[in-house]
Amino acid sequence: MKHLRSIPELGVDGIVRILGLATHMAEVNRRPVPKVPALNGRTVVSLFFEDSTRTRISFETAAKRLSADTMTFSVSTSSVNKGESLKDTIETVSAMGVTAFVVRHKTSGIPWQLSDWTDASIINAGDGWHQHPTQALLDSFTIMSTLERTPRVDCLSGLTIGIVGDIRHSRVARSDIQAFTALGAKVVLVAPRTLLPPAVEGWPVEVSSSLDDVISELDVLYMLRMQRERMNEALVPNLGEYSARYGLDDRRAKMLSHDALLMHPGPMNRGVEMLIDPASLPNNLIMQQVANGVSVRMAVLFDVLGGSETGAGVVS
């Protein structure tokens, strides 16, 4: 695989391949020296036009554990501030001999645009509201490995996964829905109508506007971050009402089935969608998601840079 830009582009066979590789990488991460020389000599540049801590550090940890060299392109200190265009920036950095770009940008579709401008591989670390494929892969991997299932096309079958919150503005939700349903899970979206995308009727999901109605049926409760800036757009009357209807509080935590799994992509808004300490729930996988993120991103980097003849060692 040359690029990882979206879950549909990866396809179900690709998802299963990455999940299998991630199983292997998780074992590498348990070794006394969790570092292998697999991507020695490759250079990975993080190009983050939006704030991010965990995704950027997770990718850099993954690249270093595979012995790739890493560089961080920090937009705030770059010539972007002098008016350099994105195309010029990419071409300039590519000319230094870069094997892959890990890109986050507020505009949907940027990863496809970039791959026209460079021979290096593009890994999408979030583009607008569109896609965040490595998050969907690490979420799938976390559910699969917690339930001790093996990487197969039906490894999430029989599960009902509830995704709660601002679906409309969430690239995590879009990517997760595609990955979870591709692997056989049933997905229920729980959100007020104003936070659902207009096209939701065409998606392979069920929709509910009441968390209380569905919470007891869920095998996985996936809480999204409620972004405070949405208040300005008047999509939700106020945060208090949102919390009362869609937040996870003690009462709702008791309605969960005893083996239901709790997930959140982070960063969490305590007091908004999360009204309890998630650590109080035994099946809270939030830290596991972060840990698995490194293994899954190692798998993605290895698949893009180490696995194929076209990807390996290509220097522009």
Binding site: M1, R17, H24, E27, S308, G311
Partner: protein
């Protein structure tokens, strides 16, 4: 989209012909028994020995060697530790070989001061063994590393030699060697 990109010698398109049986079931058993005795003799006992099978072809052979050694030495001695080593992320030809998710590394002890016997089914270019030596380093500093293989087929590309050999088998580069518990076969690739 595949990891192997068709350049791995074991791709399914390469039809095989002229299947030749090189060793039978009894021959394989005799070779394992002989190598087990040689390991005990060369090391004057089993002090500090750990047997490490290379994923995936060397693992069953390592298991058989441990079982045979335990049988020879009897109940009196301590059981031999058995390890499994996956070297796929240490290879220098990493873009040519697929990684097998289920092939994991398990080294039960710190290797510092131990005598490691690496076990593989076929010794060919020596590149797998080179990668294995790098991988072993991450588990400590063994006092020595020895190499046991069922088949040495020649064509070495690195200065590596085996300490224990089931059978030396002269081969062409266009031939494949298959080692199974019930025998060893040699076949010619139709489309090399």
């Amino acid at each position: 989209m595949t990891l192997s990109s068709g350049s791995h010698p074991d791709t399914s398109q390469t039809a095989t012909s002229n299947l030749v049986q090189v060793l039978g079931l009894a021959d394989v058993n005799r070779a394992i028994t002989r190598i087990a005795h040689e390991i005990i003799e060369r090391n004057r006992g089993l002090e500090g020995i750990i047997i490490v099978g290379l994923q995936r072809g060397g693992v069953w052979l390592a298991e058989r060697l441990v079982a045979t050694i335990n049988q020879i030495e009897g109940e009196t001695s301590r059981p031999i530790p058995l390890g499994r080593l996956d070297v796929s992320l240490f290879r220098d030809d990493i873009n040519l070989r697929p990684v097998t998710p289920v092939a994991v590394t398990e080294i039960p002890t710190d290797l510092t001061g131990s005598k490691v016997v690496l076990v593989d089914d076929v010794l060919f270019t020596g590149r797998t063994v080179r990668a294995a030596l790098d991988a072993l380093n991450q588990y400590g500093r063994p006092s020595s590393v020895q190499l046991a293989v069922m088949i040495d087929r020649g064509h070495r590309e690195l200065p590596i030699r085996p300490d224990y050999v089931g059978k030396n088998l002269p081969t062409g580069r266009d031939e494949d060697v298959q080692v199974q518990p019930d025998g060893v076969t040699l076949s010619k690739r139709a489309n090399p």
